[in-house]
């Protein structure tokens, strides 16, 4: 049979009353571009594993979404990113946690799966596997977006003044 591909850009959507037609068009255009990346792999008889890696790379490169470039900040104003990949044929899996450096954390997760006997690696050890795999790294500034920085400041201010709400849109970036 044919292929099936699904993507998500997170559950922290802008509240309807804050979503302008222009913003909505930007999100739909970004999702459309990302779908096309995965479709290209699958339409060329590519594997589901290659398709999900390429698709998530495109999502990480899109600053609208909370991963890779455009990831949210820790309370210390830094980035700690996590990623995982798994394929269903023989349940091979790779995952990384608490990294900042590899342009595409999902590729670091695949490197863990394919270059080590481990499933989940964290921090510097995970980054060393990405370095050995020759994956591209970026400086901190590459991952910065003003929107996420503003969201961090607003959240810390809400905490300081006891106004922290549990709005999923804010929490999930």
């Amino acid at each position: 049979g044919g292929f099936t591909l699904l993507i998500h850009g997170g559950a922290g959507v802008l509240p309807r009353d804050a979503m302008t037609p222009e913003a909505e068009a930007r999100y739909h255009a970004a999702l459309d571009r990302v779908l096309a990346v995965g479709e290209t792999v699958l339409a060329a008889d590519g594997s589901a594993l290659d398709a999900v890696e390429a698709t998530v790379c495109a999502l990480e490169d899109e600053p609208l979404f909370n991963a890779g470039r455009g990831a949210v900040f820790t309370r210390d104003g830094r980035h700690e990113m996590d990623a995982a990949i798994m394929e269903g044929r023989d349940r091979m899996a790779g995952a990384v946690a608490g990294i900042c450096g590899p342009r595409n954390p999902i590729r670091a997760a695949r490197a863990v799966m394919q270059r080590t006997e481990h499933v989940l690696m964290m921090g510097e050890g995970a980054q060393a596997v990405a370095t050995e795999a020759g994956l591209p790294f970026e400086e901190d500034a590459y991952f910065f977006t003003q929107a996420r920085w503003n969201s961090l400041q607003e959240t810390l201010e809400m905490e300081r003044t006891g106004r922290l709400n549990d709005d999923p849109s804010r929490r999930h970036g």
Binding site: L5, L31, D45, V52, T74, M81, A84, A93, N104
Partner: protein, 133 residues
């Protein structure tokens, strides 16, 4: 958080998830994304899953594996398993979020229990959509 699940023309499924986590999270805090069986999972005998939302809730419920187990052990459909875990179990413990999932038979689901989820799907020779709310 971002993610993708796919069924290829050879009948294999795969899942991938990546995240910056939650705004203003403590240093060292890790959610469900990199935990196999919570935010990311794939098994050709059932489905591939990628989740997004309150990581702590998805971890406590082992959401992705719970869907797989219901399909394999009690023959639930993907829709029944995915909707049941998100709308019932996740909601019951006060968690919010959603997930995307595709089964080896080509069925797929994208349930969420919050205002929306940036999502899209493409079925060869079939539907192709992007949605937010």
């Amino acid at each position: 958080t971002v993610g993708a699940v796919a069924l290829d023309r050879h009948g294999s499924v795969a899942a991938a998830t990546s995240t910056g986590g939650m705004t203003a999270k403590r240093a060292g805090r890790v959610g469900d994304t990199p935990v196999i069986g919570a935010g990311t999972f794939a098994d050709n005998r059932s489905c591939a899953v990628s989740a997004t939302g309150d990581g702590e809730a998805f971890l406590r419920l082992a959401v992705a594996h719970e869907i797989d187990a219901r399909m394999r052990l009690v023959s639930a459909s993907l829709h029944e398993a995915a909707a049941g875990v998100v709308q019932d179990d996740l909601t019951a413990i006060g968690g919010s979020g959603g997930l995307i999932a595709v089964a080896a038979d080509g069925s797929f689901a994208a349930p969420f229990n919050c205002e929306g989820m940036y999502r899209g799907w493409s079925v060869e020779h079939g539907a192709r959509e992007t949605n937010i709310y």
